[in-house]
């Protein structure tokens, strides 16, 4: 991008454009009066009003005035800079002037929307216009700098969102690093049996994608690994990835299960994390048969060799390929990437936080994820829905909104539990023929084919009781309640309290940000909403990108999301990353800090304060200097510098003082 030279010679000539914004501004601010006032200000040669200055004809007004030589600097009094600063800078450039000879006065968000009194609003608008005029007169022409973009992409999280994003980017010919903290990719979806509303088999649609990831020449899959450090900036991130030791060589292991069979533990006796503790595994294990990569790993917490050093190591003898290596160490990989996609997913709500539902107290109270494993054909019971004692349930109660829509736990609706509960209700009824009762507050079946699925369940004879469950207990009042769990809830549509005895209770637990979301957020320097979900740049118009350029979000790390939405967002995130990479360069805003060498005393106060490590100190000349490519223009160093040597483009002391003078002096 070539920016025109500073075409001013001598006194600035400023054009002031006051926007009506329909009635957003005009209803509270007397626009005509503001324009009249602007004409009286120093340097102002043109002052106009217009209904919508952001529209094409509005921008044309500015461009024409520049072309006609009437003005060389622009002030627009309208909305917030976040909304339209970029628009008007572009218009200024299109007119043939340096885009930084522009200043915005925010008379909508800061004035008309928040001021009751019309006179006061007009007065405040005038003051802000005067400030902007005085400031823009001191503006200097600035250049955006260009930095090349590294074409590789890092994707954090190998659930369905991460997998989809990785495949999309890799298919375009770009290199992808997919980092997953668990021993296998697949995420939560790998645990499901069927998916709503079509009831297609989760494994049948997921595992082909998982093996595609494994075999794709452009994807480097690092499972059982975590990102430990992130430096750099958009287009040029430097990332450190910690590869945890599996104690089995990934290159050599073929997943033949020989070592597992020959392990000195004849019976599996340790809690199997993949089956949420519903079954057991050995110290050496493969999470599930379709695990990707299909590589065994040893859990040093339970392995006898690691605990005592006196194991017969039958696994080592069993392995023909000599893949087992007890000496394996943690490895740190350093990579350079241009874009990052976070797809770190969610965790389920801890149901013990609501004691009145009896989870952890009554053995036959399950979470929905546990039931997902029970109905799964490759799960611990081979797809049979069984009570803890092995019996078949004759009646099942499904409690919706556990840990959702509740100020005592999570205020938000977890969005997918309604449909997941309906799916489980269908599967339980299909597999066991049990009477299934759904206790719901509202059924939220908004999605393609979702309402139809609800209709189907109503016809199947699944019971729906509108009422949030008060209590699950084993306290019986009638003979038929003996030995059962009793669910007590008001049937709000009938208006009476009902007690329903069931054999099994399923808690449709909500979604929460994953346990390490906070660490991830800090490491990647992105924000979160108050519940801890990663924050998107704009809820409607930038739902995938974050406030940190070059980092986008996919899947449930941004908020509860079902599979179709996660995949859709993953595609969008991939497109964002590709758009950045394909452009090949990024333009950096010139509002960076710089050191005035003659004033710098070399005290180094700024060096430690910079959150982006953009300031370096040179012992040779005893001066600090700022790396413009790393500086984000936060202003911390400028404020901290004791000798005033640090200044920031677009926020120099002179510009700020002039703006204040403008605000104070003219109204």
């Amino acid at each position: 991008m070539s920016t025109p030279e500073n075409k001013t010679n001598g006194t600035p000539r400023i054009g002031v454009y006051v926007c009506h914004c329909g009635i957003n501004i005009a209803a509270k601010v007397n626009v005509a009066e503001c324009v009249e006032f602007a004409r009286s200000l120093p340097y102002v040669t043109v002052a106009r009003e217009y209904k919508f200055i952001c529209s094409d004809p509005g921008q044309e007004l500015i461009q024409q005035d520049i072309r006609d030589g009437k003005i060389d600097r622009v002030v627009v009094a309208s909305c917030s800079p976040l909304m339209h600063e970029a628009t008007f800078r572009k218009a200024t450039l299109a007119g043939g002037q340096n885009p930084f000879f522009f200043q915005m006065a925010n008379i909508r968000e800061h004035v008309s929307w928040v001021t009751f009194d019309k006179e006061m609003a007009t007065l405040k608008a005038k003051a802000l216009i005067a400030g902007a005029v005085m400031r823009v007169a001191r503006h200097k022409p600035l250049e955006k700098t260009r930095v090349p973009v590294n074409p590789d992409v890092l994707i954090v999280g190998g659930g369905i969102a991460g997998i989809h994003a990785a495949l999309t980017i890799a298919d375009s010919g770009k290199k992808v690093y997919l980092v997953e903290k668990e021993p296998t990719i697949g995420g939560h979806m790998a645990k499901f049996d069927k998916t709503f509303p079509t009831l297609d088999c989760a494994a049948c649609i997921l595992t082909p994608k998982m093996s595609a990831v494994r075999s794709h020449p452009n994807i480097i899959l690092w499972s059982y690994s975590e990102v430990s450090q992130v430096d750099g900036y958009v287009g040029n991130f430097k990332v450190k990835v910690r590869r945890k030791p599996r104690y089995v060589d990934e290159e050599l292991c073929v997943g033949c299960y020989e070592c597992i069979e020959k392990c000195i533990f004849k019976k599996a006796k340790f809690e199997d994390e993949f089956n949420i503790g519903l079954s057991q595994r050995k110290p050496i294990y493969i999470p599930f048969p379709q695990a990707t990569p299909l590589v065994a790993l040893i859990d040093p917490e339970t392995c006898t060799e690691f605990r005592t050093g006196k194991c017969k190591k039958t696994c080592v003898d069993a392995c023909e390929r000599k893949a087992i290596d007890f000496q394996q160490k943690e490895e740190i990989k350093e990579i350079d990437v241009g874009a990052i996609i976070l797809a770190t997913g969610f965790k389920i709500f801890d149901a013990t936080r609501i004691p009145r539902y009896g989870y952890g107290k009554y053995p036959n109270v399950f979470t929905s994820l546990e039931i997902e494993r029970l109905v799964n054909a490759s799960g611990p019971t081979g797809g049979e829905v069984r009570l803890k004692d092995g019996g078949k349930p004759n009646s099942v109660g499904i409690i919706h909104c556990v840990g959702s829509r509740d100020i005592n736990t999570n205020r938000y609706c977890s969005r997918l539990c309604c449909m997941a509960s309906l799916k489980l209700a269908h599967l339980i009824k299909e597999r066991t023929g049990a009477e299934v009762y759904n206790f719901y507050i509202d059924i939220r079946a908004a999605g393609k084919g979702y309402e139809e699925f609800y209709d189907k369940l109503l016809k199947e004879g699944v019971h729906f009781i509108r009422g949030r469950v008060a209590e699950v207990s084993d306290w019986t009042m009638t003979a038929d309640e003996e030995g059962k769990l009793v669910i007590r809830a008001e049937d709000t549509l009938i208006g009476v309290v009902r007690r329903i005895p069931v054999d099994m209770v399923v808690l449709a637990v909500g979604l929460e940000p994953s346990a390490d979301a906070d660490n991830i957020r800090r490491m990647f320097n992105i924000s979160c909403s108050y519940e801890g979900w990663f924050l998107e740049r704009h809820p409607k118009l930038a739902p995938v990108s974050t406030f940190t350029d070059g980092i986008s979000l996919a899947g449930a790390c941004q908020g509860p999301k079902d599979i179709p939405d996660s995949v859709a967002q993953a595609g969008a995130a991939a497109a964002e990353a590709l758009a950045l990479i394909d452009k090949g360069f990024v333009e950096l805003e010139p509002n960076t800090a710089f050191v005035q060498d003659e004033f710098c005393s070399g005290c180094c106060t700024c060096v430690a304060l910079c959150p982006y490590s953009a300031i370096s100190f040179s012992a040779d000349n005893n001066r600090a200097s700022v790396n413009g490519a790393l500086c984000k223009g936060c202003g911390t160093c400028v404020a901290a510098c004791p000798s005033g040597a640090l200044q920031q483009n677009l926020f120099t002391d002179e510009q700020i003082f002039e703006e204040i003078r403008g605000v104070m002096n003219y109204v």
Partner: protein, 209 residues
């Protein structure tokens, strides 16, 4: 054939009081009335809801819709044992117990609390006794309660009463504090302050509109 009079069962908008909900929300504790999502957790937890003519959830819906007469003359709030189970577990933080207190106060003020029903009578008599004597005398309170609700029951309990009295467990004499006039002044000034505050609040509400 009896004449079908189903239209009488229709609730006409003109029969409702649209200002009733605001009356309740303006009472401390009633602010969150409109947060209710009608999930029924309160009614399910309430140990007394089976005895109520309307469940607590219904009462909230009725207040919001303006069923003033039905709500204030219902037995629901008088059966509330103030166990606070509903308030603790309400997923939206609605202070249901406080709303029950609010409807009790409104019912007394409007004079529509259920007649010959022990709990409101007890509440009123208790307060009256404390207001005039500064003390509450159990014996007299029980007598008044029976007389105003079911005098025959008093006869049934007479022997028990006499036995308690003879053991010194139940007084008949009216207890009172020494300087009743000072209590009266205190209560009067409190009442005055309340009036001033409520007048100021109505004035503010008017300004905001």
């Amino acid at each position: 054939m009896p004449v079908w009079r189903g239209w009488d069962k229709i609730k006409y908008q003109a029969q409702l009081d649209p200002a009733f909900a605001e009356e309740v929300t303006s009472i401390p504790g009633g602010e969150k009335l409109f947060d209710c999502i009608q999930c029924g957790t309160c009614s399910g937890l309430c140990p007394l809801s089976p005895y109520m003519d309307f469940t607590p959830r219904k009462i909230i819906a009725m207040i919001r819709a303006g069923f003033k007469g039905e709500v204030l003359s219902s037995h629901t709030c008088w059966l509330c044992a103030s166990c606070y189970a509903c308030t603790v577990e309400c997923p939206k933080g609605v202070k249901i117990t406080e709303i029950m207190y609010a409807t009790k106060r409104l019912a007394i003020r409007e004079g529509v609390s259920p007649k010959r029903f022990a709990i409101p009578v007890l509440a009123e008599e208790f307060f009256r006794d404390v207001e005039s004597n500064g003390r509450n005398s159990e014996g007299r309170l029980i007598m008044k309660l029976y007389l105003k609700t079911n005098p025959f029951k008093a006869l049934k309990q007479a022997t028990l009463g006499l036995r308690l009295w003879s053991q010194g467990r139940l007084g008949i004499r009216s207890d009172s504090i020494k300087r009743k006039s000072e209590l009266k002044t205190l209560l009067k000034s409190l009442e005055k302050e309340r009036m001033v505050r409520s007048r100021r609040e109505t004035a503010h509400a008017g300004e905001a509109k």
